[in-house]
């Protein structure tokens, strides 16, 4: 895993997460700060979740 880290580096992502339309207005503090080992293929699923807006579809904005 050290090799994975070194090869791909590391990214941190911040998702603003809300519980729905009504919550969005009052949820400035309701955000999730998420970090991850970054890079290419091993992080593919996370890229998909962010870029296909699956986090957003679950009530979060990403």
């Amino acid at each position: 895993m050290n090799a994975v880290r070194a090869m791909v580096g590391c990214s941190l992502m911040m998702f603003s997460m809300t519980s729905g339309p009504a919550a969005q207005m009052a949820q400035a503090a309701d955000k999730v700060i998420a970090g991850s080992l970054g890079g290419q293929a091993p992080l593919w699923a996370i890229y998909v979740a962010v870029h296909k807006s699956f986090f957003a579809a679950r009530g979060h904005r990403s």
């Binding site: 050290n2 593919w44 699923a45």
Partner: protein
Amino acid sequence: MSSTFAQSGAAVTQQLTAASLDVALSVGITDPIRAIDKGAPLALIRVVGNAAPYVLIGKPGLKSIADLKGKIISVGADNDITTVYFERMMSANGLKKSDYDVLPAGVAAARFAALKAGVVDAAIVLPPLNFQATASGFVTLGLAADYVKDIPFTGMAVHRRWAAANLPVAKRILAATDKSIAWLADPSHRDEAIELLVKVARSSKEDAEASYDYLRRIEYFEPSSKVSRTKLRNLVAMEQRAGTVDPAFAIDRLVMPGLTELTD
């Protein structure tokens, strides 16, 4: 969304421990385990990478792992995770530690460089280096995933205080990850997934295509948020044998009731 960068998975785990982060979406699974053993208020909530993507590659002319008897092989570092996978691949082919020499070379790129320079006869690397290696005439001797199926590779972890205060959000992160991995596993999404990796990770199209097929082949992504108790036990036992985790460490310390869903 805003992004920033850190140097390593260990750094992400340190930031999670300090509550600078709420969630580590995907890190080497041994990082949070070692942190929790030392008292960090973290919990493992999901396995992300279910199989190690390491590939053992060798000089042209070598045909199998058994051919590495008497050879020099480049690994990561003494007692790091690459060594664990490597030794299990070797022993499965009847080779003992005394049958070969290892040269710890650090990161995968350095290991591949040692192979290209002729300093070693084989090296354990990660995609996409193995694809580049075979395109240059080196040979694939074995895949770690074919030999080691009982320990997970990467995982998702949370800070316990944050998760306790934000349980519905944490569960939605798990559900979104499930959906993402299911999307990725659908072969009809192959082209779109490859385009995404090229765009986001700045991969070459050739490497992205090969990586997609390879990760599917080794069933890299864990489709379920359920965490195997047996695999966690295996992982902790491996860490205990390496002396990196206390012998009395119990796997219940790794999980968060109500969030981590243990199975078997």
